[in-house]
């Protein structure tokens, strides 16, 4: 047994302990996801139809991950300067991976064994036959224990092995698998989009097989991703060249004309899309889950989809309509993919430009400057084009998701002014959202106590002002409180708002638990914005305005005052900043933005209940701010898409949404409080540079004149 001997000598005891610990932690995580019901719930969703479910994938990821983490830790430990061996041998690594995997497998098999002895279900409701069926792969539990353990060790070993693959191969491999898993998870979405009229049905049948992806589909997706990852580094060059050619060879007039035509076409399409008669388009059934904000039953939506696009044909003659709609959809798909592609490049370019703007040389060259401007224009153009055409391309249900993302994104922008810019941790932000929704309802609904029956647009300015005033009202008492007290007190205010909305005291005006019904939809001219695919344009306009305002404020005198205040209140005050004013300003502005979100929310649902406005809304808004990095505007967009969009797409997620938010909050605060997409700031690793420049200055002074005192 030379192998085990070498292993014994190479792995020191502390490393062994660490490996075992990682194994045990991973085992506990496995148990956790089983007991909490995630595995079974996700088990219902197949990644690859009939072969592997999301629940299984989850367990596999944990086992493989445990191996990978153990190896990573080992390498880090061993690469410490004092250690004699810098990189553990391949076999040692595999051994480590297998050990952790073994522990994970053993934990699971012991669990399976225990379920045979004791009935846990009366306490732990998720230890169901369904879960056991998944864990035992429908075999008798007594036989399967060995299998699970061996499987675990194998997976752990694979995890360790992945670490040893050349990164050039590892990256496409991992990304390919990731994309298969993500698309498999999103198969409902895939189905919905692909089953829309105009998309070739072959594609749908090829990719999707009853419960999940087909094998052929999965392979294709994997292959496509791998291919994309491999050619990815070359694409920007091609893009660069194309833009350069366009800029240099295509006449300005032509460029201009093309973009004008494109814009007009797009605008007309959008107007037409919004303007379709709504007679046949059902309003989406929106149900309020007891503890989650705007949610839509996916199944119902899917059933409604069949009615979606067919509305156009009622307007035109059947034949003509079929032809027109086919042409339109095919061209839309083409244009849409083009837009998407350009959008990706555009984003890539923005990042690249952000790096470039500092170096002056790139701008001094007129050709380069022209190129950068051209790229910037293209980015802006395609971003807008993508935003505008999303609901047209995707249809009603995805638009509903986008609408909810938009509602939270708007709130995120508002909250960012309060938390991100002014540094006031407001945990009762839902109150402003609620006041916005309620005041809209009261002003517009014919059933409200006052029976004003105003139109949405007439009500909106009043709503914004009223909510802004509420913001000042909430802000005033907390002005002198320290950060953490302020957070708890605002949380309390949020709760008080809900109590008041619920109370009998205000029932004559606010409707108590029954809420306010019959809130009319928003209308522009003769067109009523019913349905998420139309309201989408409203919320996206709101988001863009909020984004614009936030971006403008950030670099301004007001933004600087907020930032100074959030970093050191006392000093800010001695630098001439009226902190009372700026705190109130932040609360007021934040409240105003939330109120717009609330107003759209009320108009979208047509009915509002106090239960929709609970603390979870505030927590969601805060979480999306933190995931993106407090103060980062792109971070809010990404945060809203990930934290609000994903759970809406994955029905199973909604159950665990707050669990995951909680975990994310802890994780982000412990590991990277600045968020995943931090505010663009230069890195802090400049102290060395700083010192060396000081030294250089110093030397220069000494050399220049004997008297070293001159202050240069």
């Amino acid at each position: 047994m030379t192998d085990s001997n070498t292993i014994n000598t190479i792995i020191e005891r502390k490393h062994a302990t660490k490996t075992v610990l990682i194994g045990i932690y991973s085992g506990l995580v496995t148990l956790f996801v089983c007991l909490i019901g995630m595995v079974e719930t996700f088990g219902a969703r197949d990644i690859i139809g009939g072969i592997i479910s999301m629940g299984h994938t989850m367990l596999i990821i944990i086992a493989v991950g445990s191996g990978a983490v153990a190896v990573k830790t080992l390498r880090e430990d061993m690469s410490t300067p004092g250690a004699t061996i810098n990189k553990p041998a391949f076999l040692v690594e595999i051994f480590v991976g297998v050990t952790t995997g073994l522990i994970v497998g053993a934990t699971l098999s012991i669990f399976v064994f225990a379920t045979q002895l004791v009935d846990m279900r009366s306490v732990l409701i998720n230890v169901s036959p369904g879960l056991l069926e998944m864990l035992t792969l429908q075999q008798p539990a007594s036989q399967v224990m060995m299998t699970i353990t061996v499987l675990g060790s194998l997976l752990g070993g694979i995890g360790a092995a992945i670490f040893n693959i050349n990164p050039r191969i590892r990256l496409p491999l991992v990304l390919g698998l990731t994309s298969v898993v993500s698309l498999g998870m999103l198969r409902d979405m895939l189905k919905i989009v692909l089953s829309r009229e105009g998309w070739p049905s072959v594609l749908l049948n090829f990719l999707v097989k009853n419960q999940g992806l087909s094998i052929a589909g999965a392979t294709t997706i994997f292959a496509t991703t791998v291919a994309l990852v491999i050619i990815w580094p070359h694409l920007p060059k091609i893009y660069d060249k194309t833009v350069r050619i366009i800029v240099t060879y295509v006449p300005k007039v032509l460029q201009f004309a093309v973009s004008i035509i494109f814009t007009i076409a797009l605008t007309m399409r959008v107007f037409w899309f919004i303007g379709i008669s709504d007679k046949d388009l059902p309003i989406l059934p929106s149900c309020q889950a007891a503890d989650s904000s705007p949610n839509v039953d996916l199944a119902k939506c899917i059933s409604i989809l069949s009615n979606d696009v067919s509305t156009t044909s009622d307007l035109l003659g059947t034949n003509l309509a079929t032809l027109v709609s086919t042409i339109i959809t095919v061209s839309e798909i083409l244009v849409g993919s083009l837009i998407l592609l350009c959008f990706i490049f555009a984003i890539w370019n923005i990042r690249q430009n952000a790096n470039l703007t500092d170096t002056k040389s790139t701008l001094e060259d007129p050709n380069n400057a022209l190129l950068i401007i051209a790229k910037r224009n293209i980015s802006a153009f395609f971003s807008v084009a993508l935003l505008v055409s999303l609901p047209i391309l995707l249809g009603v249900f995805p638009s509903e998701v986008l609408l909810n993302v938009g509602l939270y994104m708007l709130m995120g922008f508002g909250l960012n002014i309060v938390v991100g810019m002014a540094g006031l941790l407001d945990l009762g932000y839902v109150a402003f959202f609620a006041v916005g929704a309620y005041s809209t309802a009261i002003l517009t609904s014919p059933r409200a106590s006052i029976e004003l029956g105003m139109s949405f647009w007439a009500a909106l300015p009043i709503v914004v002002l009223v909510t802004g005033a509420t913001g000042l009202l909430v802000g005033a008492p907390v002005l002198r409180m320290r950060g953490d007290y302020l957070a708890i007190v605002t949380l309390g205010f949020g709760e008080i708002a809900r109590f008041l909305f619920l109370s009998d005291w205000f029932k004559p005006w606010l409707g108590g638990a029954q809420g306010i019904i019959l809130i009319p939809p928003v209308s522009i001219g003769n067109v009523q914005l019913i349905g998420p695919h139309k309201l989408y344009y409203l919320i996206i306009t709101g988001c863009l305005i909020a984004l614009f305002i936030s971006a403008r404020l950030r670099g301004s005198r007001v933004g600087r005052a907020w930032m100074a205040m959030s970093e050191d209140e006392k000093v800010a005050e001695t630098m001439g900043i009226n902190t009372v004013y700026y705190k109130l300003l932040a609360f007021g502005l934040g409240a105003m933005i939330a109120s717009i979100s609330g107003a759209v929310f009320a108009a979208k649902l047509g009915t509002i209940f106090p239960h929709s406005f609970n603390v979870l809304v505030s927590i969601t808004a805060l979480s999306l701010l933190i995931v993106g990095g407090i103060g980062s505007l792109p971070g809010i967009i990404v945060g809203a898409l990930v934290l609000v969009g994903l759970p809406e797409l994955l029905r199973e997620f909604t159950e665990y949404r707050l669990l995951i938010y909680g975990a994310i909050l802890i994780f982000m605060m412990l590991s990277r409080p600045e968020g995943l997409i931090p505010r663009v700031r230069q890195t802090r690793e400049l102290d060395d540079q700083e010192l060396s420049q000081d030294a250089w200055l110093h030397d220069k002074n000494e050399a220049n004149n004997g008297s070293s005192v001159t202050v240069t």
Partner: protein, 266 residues
Amino acid sequence: MNKLFECKNLSKDFGGLTAVNKFSFDIEEGEIVSLIGPNGAGKTTFFNLVTGLYPASSGMIMFKGEDLIGLSPYEITQLGIARTFQAVRLFPDMTILENVMVGQHCRSKSGVIGAILQPKSYKEEEERIRTNAEKQLAFFGSRLMGFRLNQPASSLSYANRRRLEIARAMSTEAKLLLLDEPAAGMNPKETIEIAHLIGKLRDERGFTILVIEHDMRVVKDVSDRVVAMDYGSKIAEGTYQQVATNEHVVEAYLGRKGNEEQDNAN
């Protein structure tokens, strides 16, 4: 009333402890006055009273004929008093330029609407703020200029942080600068540099300066007048020579000297 700054019988109690006790003195325009005294003598408390961070228990503070008692810190800054802190307090995550631009806050007035719509007047004001900030930074030579403008203040070395803090105070366009131990923690060379700087601040920029300093070389070099404090009261006032030989001052410092020796021995 030619005095720029004047305080009479200024007192501050913290519970039972009297940190500043019937303190009176004045500064004329263009003077550099040093405030010395052992630790805990109430010097920094006095700064906090002047800048409005603490409310005074009794007494009065006049600046350019205005009574400062009861004013908020930002209003006092607006009237023309700016300060630095003993433990440097910058806005660490803001860039160096932004730090100094914040100082211009009370000399500009654009608000939310201006920031969003960005009319010409807003742009001109921003330009003015930026130019002014750069002008203040240029006072320190190339140390805070160039590529550093857009780096976070936390990336600076200790001495440069002190300089930045002074630049920030300068950019409030104050008449009177209160510098709280500007040379603390600096090496001898930097200390001499700071002393020159203080002189330059008055000669070139026309600031009137009140400085708390422990380093007697600095005090000796820069001050027109020295005020010594102990237990919250003024114990001596005059030129450096007068104060340094004053027996109360020597007495106040002897204990401290003994301490220092002890510290050194440890």
